[in-house]
C-alpha cells in the first residue's frame, strides 16, 4: 500500500523548536518583556510553525503519493533490542493535522492577543498556549506510539492548565482537575494499549513502536490482541475526544478562556482521539468488532450530545455538546472505515467550530463575560461582523449544502450507510436534524428576537476589535470554502483530500452517484428541517419553546440536567471512592500499617544510631586514625595483590 519514499527533512525539528522557544521565552522572560513582545513572540512561534508546515507540505506534494518526510531529534530509549528514537514523520495524515493545528492555532493565537488583552497573566497564558501547540505537534508528528504519547500527555496537561487558568476560582480549578482525572482514565487505556501492542510485536521478535514498522508487520498481531489493543486505544480516545463514557469533562472545560475552548476543546486536542484511531487504522481494520464499537459509540454519542445541547442555555455549553456530537460523527466515520472522511471532518470542524467559539467569545467580550443565552438576543445590529461570521459557521455545522460541514458530514454518513450500519446511519441523520435545531436555536437566541441583555450592559455593547474580528473573517472564509477540497468523487476536481490521505488511511468503497445523491438529500433535508424548526420556535413563535418544554416535562428536565450523568458518576464512582479512601485507607491502612511501618523504621534507625553513634567521638585524630587503618588495609591488599601477580 505504501509505495512512496521517505525523505530526511530537518526543518521538521524547527517546527517543534519554534513553539518550544515561545514557551521558554514566555515562561522566563514574558512578564518582564511586556505584553506587546509576548504577543508578537507567541503568535510568531505558531505562525512560523504554520509556514514551516506549508513548506513541508510543498515538499511532500512534490514526492510520489504515499511518501513521508522524516527527522530524528534524539536517540531516546535503547534497551537491548528495543530502540526508540524521538523521531518525526510528516506523511499525508500528519500534514493535514499539522496544518490544522498550526493554522487554526495561529488564528486563535492572534485572536487571543485581543481577547486576553486585559488579563494580567497574559505571559502564562501564552506560555501554555505555545506549550499546547508544541505538544499537539509532537502528538501529530511523532513517528512512534511512545513519542506520540508524550504529546498526548502534553496536551492533556495543557488542557488542565488552561481550564484552570483562572485558578483562584475554586469551581474552575475543580473543573480543571476533573478534566485531568477523566483524561487520566483514558490515558491509562492508551498506555495499556501501547504495552499490549509492544508485547504482541515483541513476542514475535519485532521490537518496535514505530508506526511505519508496525503497519508493515501488522500481520504478526493476532486478532484477539488487536481487538484488545484496539479497545484500549479507543478508551484513550474516548477520554481525550470526549466520547461516551468519558465525555463528562468537556462541558465543564468551558470555564477556561474562550480561545482555549476554541483551540483545545473544539478544534484540535479533542480530535486527537480521532487522529489516533486513524493513525492506527491498520490495527482497527484487523478487528471488525472494534470497528463496530467505535462506530456505535460515535453515533450514540453524536445523538446523545445533540439532545443535551437542545436544552442548554449557556452558549459555550451548547457549543461543547455540539463538539461532542461532531466528534461522535468522526468516530462514526472512523468506525465505518472512512478514516479519510473522519479526518476531513476534523478539518472542516476545526474551521467552523473554532469560528463558533471565537464568535461566542466575541459575543461574551461584547457583553462583558455573559454566557447565558437567555440574557442575549437581538445582537445582530450591534455585532454585525460576529453575526455574519457566526451565520456562516452555523450553516456549516448544520451541513447546509455548499458549506464545508456538508461535504465532510455527507462523506461520513455515506460511509456509514455503505458499510451496512443502517441504524447508525439513521441515528446520524436524526442527529443532523437535531444539529440544525440546536445550532440555530443558539444563533437565533443570540442574534435575533427581543434584546434580553441586562440594561447595565447595553451602553457598553460594542463590536470586538480588529485583532479579534479578522480571525473571525478568516475562519468564516474557511468554513465557507474549506469543504471544497473534498468534493464527492468525480465531481469537478473530486475528493482531493481523500486522495491525498488515501495512501495512509486506505480507501472505502463508494456508492453509485445517484444513490449518493439520494443519501445527501436525506441528510440535508433533515438538517434544513432542523433549521426551519428552530426558526419557527425562536423567531416566528417565541412562546412555543416554553409550551413544548412544559409539555415534555420530565424529558426536558432530563435534557437540561444532561441526563443526570454527572450525578450518576458521582453516585457510582466518586462517593464510593471517597468513602473507601476515608474509611479503609485513611483510618485503617494509613494509620496502622503505613504509619506503623514508618514509625518502626524511624525507631529502628534511632536505636541503631544510638548504638553506633559512640563511634563519633568528635576527636579529629580518632577519625584520622580510623582513616589510616582503612588506608593500611587497602595498601596491604595492594601489596598482597602485587606479590601474587608479580
Amino acid at each position: 500500500m505504501v509505495n512512496g519514499v521517505v525523505v530526511e527533512f530537518p526543518a521538521l525539528k524547527l517546527m517543534l523548536l519554534l513553539p518550544a522557544l515561545g514557551v521558554v521565552f514566555n515562561l522566563f522572560l514574558g512578564r518582564r518583556a511586556g505584553r506587546a513582545i509576548v504577543n508578537v513572540v507567541s503568535v510568531a512561534a505558531v505562525v512560523g510553525a504554520f509556514l514551516l508546515a506549508l513548506w513541508a507540505l510543498g515538499e511532500l506534494l512534490a514526492l510520489p503519493a504515499g511518501s513521508a518526510l522524516k527527522a530524528t531529534l534524539w536517540s531516546w530509549i535503547y534497551v537491548g533490542p528495543l530502540q526508540i528514537d524521538l523521531g518525526l514523520r510528516f506523511d499525508a495524515l500528519a500534514a493535514v493535522m499539522t496544518l490544522v493545528v498550526s493554522g487554526v492555532g495561529s488564528i486563535i493565537h492572534l485572536y487571543s492577543c485581543g481577547y486576553m488583552g486585559e488579563d494580567p497573566d497574559y505571559a502564562r497564558f501564552f506560555a501554555y498556549m505555545n506549550l499546547f501547540t508544541l505538544s499537539m505537534l509532537v502528538l501529530v508528528l511523532g513517528n512512534n506510539l511512545l513519542f506520540m504519547f508524550i504529546g498526548w500527555e502534553g496536551v492533556g496537561l495543557c488542557s488542565y492548565l488552561l481550564i484552570a487558568f483562572w485558578y483562584d476560582n475554586a469551581q474552575f480549578a475543580y473543573n480543571g482537575r476533573k478534566a485531568f482525572v477523566v483524561n487520566r482514565i483514558g490515558d491509562a487505556g492508551f498506555l495499556l494499549g501501547i504495552f499490549a501492542l509492544a508485547a504482541a510485536f515483541a513476542s514475535r521478535g519485532l521490537w518496535t513502536l514505530d508506526f511505519a514498522a508496525m503497519r508493515e508487520h501488522i500481520s504478526l498481531v493476532s486478532s484477539a490482541v488487536a481487538t484488545m489493543a484496539g479497545l484500549l486505544f479507543f478508551l484513550g480516545a474516548t477520554g481525550k475526544s470526549a466520547q461516551i463514557p468519558l465525555y463528562v469533562w468537556l462541558p465543564d472545560a468551558m470555564v477556561g478562556p474562550t480561545p482555549v475552548s476554541a483551540l483545545i476543546h473544539a478544534a484540535t486536542m479533542v480530535t486527537a482521539g480521532v487522529y489516533m484511531v486513524a493513525r492506527l487504522g491498520f490495527l482497527y481494520q484487523l478487528t471488525p468488532a472494534t470497528m463496530e464499537v467505535v462506530a456505535a459509540v460515535g453515533a450514540i454519542t453524536a445523538f446523545f450530545a445533540a439532545t443535551v445541547a437542545l436544552a442548554q442555555s449557556d452558549i459555550k455549553r451548547v457549543l461543547a455538546y455540539s463538539t461532542i456530537s461532531q466528534i461522535g460523527y468522526m468516530f462514526l466515520g472512523a468506525g465505518a472505515g472512512a478514516f479519510g472522511a473522519a479526518i476531513f471532518h476534523i478539518v472542516t470542524h476545526a474551521f467552523f467550530k473554532a469560528l463558533l467559539f471565537l464568535g461566542a467569545g466575541s459575543v461574551m467580550h461584547a457583553l462583558g463575560g455573559e454566557q447565558d443565552m437567555s440574557r442575549m438576543g437581538g445582537l445582530r445590529r450591534k455585532l454585525p461582523v460576529t453575526h455574519a461570521t457566526m451565520l456562516v459557521a452555523t450553516l456549516a455545522i448544520t451541513a447546509v449544502p455548499g458549506f464545508s460541514g456538508f461535504f465532510s458530514k455527507d462523506e461520513i454518513l455515506e460511509a456509514a450507510y455503505v458499510s451496512g450500519h443502517y441504524w447508525l446511519w439513521g441515528l446520524g441523520v436524526i442527529t443532523a436534524g437535531l444539529t440544525g435545531l440546536y445550532m440555530f436555536r443558539l444563533f437565533f437566541l443570540t442574534f435575533y428576537g427581543r434584546s434580553r441583555v441586562e440594561a447595565a450592559r447595553l451602553p457598553r455593547l460594542h463590536e470586538s476589535p480588529a485583532v479579534m474580528t479578522i480571525p473571525l473573517v478568516i475562519l468564516a472564509l474557511l468554513s465557507l470554502g474549506g469543504g471544497w477540497i473534498g468534493l464527492p468523487a468525480g465531481m469537478l476536481w473530486g475528493d482531493r483530500i481523500g486522495e491525498f490521505l488515501r495512501p495512509v488511511v486506505g480507501q472505502v468503497k463508494s456508492v453509485p452517484g445517484l444513490e449518493a445523491l439520494a443519501l445527501s438529500a436525506v441528510a440535508s433535508a433533515a438538517a434544513l428541517s432542523g433549521l426551519v424548526l428552530a426558526f419557527v420556535f425562536y423567531v416566528a413563535a417565541p412562546g412555543l419553546p416554553e409550551r413544548a418544554a412544559a409539555w415534555s416535562g420530565a424529558l426536558y428536565r432530563a435534557l437540561r440536567e444532561k441526563y443526570y450523568v454527572d450525578e450518576l458518576y458521582d453516585f457510582l464512582v466518586t462517593r464510593p471512592l471517597f468513602f473507601l479512601s476515608d474509611v479503609a485507607f485513611d483510618r485503617v491502612i494509613d494509620s496502622y500499617a503505613i504509619e506503623g511501618l514508618v514509625d518502626g523504621a524511624a525507631a529502628a534507625a534511632r536505636g541503631g544510631a544510638a548504638a553506633i553513634r559512640r563511634v563519633e567521638t568528635g576527636n579529629v585524630q580518632h577519625y584520622a586514625l580510623t582513616y589510616l587503618c582503612g588506608a593500611l588495609a587497602v595498601l596491604a591488599y595492594c601489596l598482597y595483590y602485587s606479590m601474587r601477580h608479580g
Binding site: Q621, L628, A631, L632, L635, L639
Partner: protein, 185 residues
C-alpha cells in the same frame, strides 16, 4: 659524590621532619618544617626538577610557612606543657604508623634501581610551562579559581565579626582596633 649529597639532604629531611613532630614549641616545629622543606626542595633540584624545587622553596618557605608563623604569633602559642594526653591513641597511632612505614617500604624498595639519564631540558621552566599551559591549562585555571575562593573564604572565616568581638580594655587592644580600622579604610 651524588649519593653523598642525597644522603646529606635525606638525613636532614628526616631529622627535621622528626623535629616538626617532636618539638614541644610550635615555633621550633615550624623552623624544623622550614628545614624539611628546604631539604626536600634541594632533593627535587637533585632529581633534575630545578624549577619546581625553587618554586617549592618560594611558595612554601617564603609564603605558606610564614603564614603559619603569623598564626602562631596571633594565638600566642607557647611551648606545650607536655601532658600525656590519650595514651591509648598514641599507642595505636604509633603502631599504625609503624605498619604504614613497613608497608610503604615494602612497596618502594622494589622500585627500579637507577633513573634513566634526564633528557635535555628536563625540569626546565620551558618544559614545565609547556605542560601547564597546554595539557593542564584547564586544571591550572581551576587552581587559580580555587586560590581566589580560598582567599575569600579565609578572610570570611578569620575576620573578626562585630558580634564576637571580645571587648578588652587596654592600650594594646585599642591600638589593634585602630590598625584594623585604618586597614579597612
Amino acid at each position: 659524590m651524588e649519593v653523598g649529597v642525597f644522603a646529606f639532604f635525606a638525613v636532614l629531611a628526616v631529622v627535621s621532619a622528626l623535629g616538626v613532630v617532636l618539638q614541644r614549641s610550635p615555633v621550633h616545629s615550624l623552623l624544623a618544617l622550614v628545614a624539611t622543606l628546604l631539604a626536600i626542595s634541594a632533593l627535587l633540584i637533585g632529581l633534575g626538577a630545578v624549577a619546581i624545587g625553587f618554586l617549592l622553596a618560594i611558595v612554601y618557605v617564603g609564603a605558606i610557612v610564614v603564614v603559619f608563623l603569623f598564626v602562631i604569633w596571633l594565638l600566642n602559642l607557647q611551648r606545650d606543657p607536655g601532658e600525656p594526653g590519650h595514651l591509648a591513641a598514641k599507642f595505636f597511632g604509633a603502631f599504625a604508623v609503624a605498619a604504614l612505614t613497613a608497608e610503604l617500604f615494602a612497596f618502594f624498595v622494589r622500585a627500579p634501581v637507577g633513573p634513566p639519564p634526564a633528557p635535555a631540558g628536563y625540569g626546565s621552566v620551558d618544559r614545565l610551562a609547556d605542560l601547564i599551559f597546554r595539557d593542564y591549562l584547564v586544571a591550572f585555571e581551576a587552581t587559580s579559581l580555587l586560590l581566589l575562593v580560598a582567599v575569600v573564604g579565609a578572610v570570611a572565616v578569620a575576620r573578626r565579626w562585630p558580634a564576637d568581638q571580645p571587648r578588652r580594655s587596654g592600650a594594646g587592644a585599642s591600638a589593634h582596633g585602630e590598625l584594623r580600622r585604618a586597614e579597612r579604610a
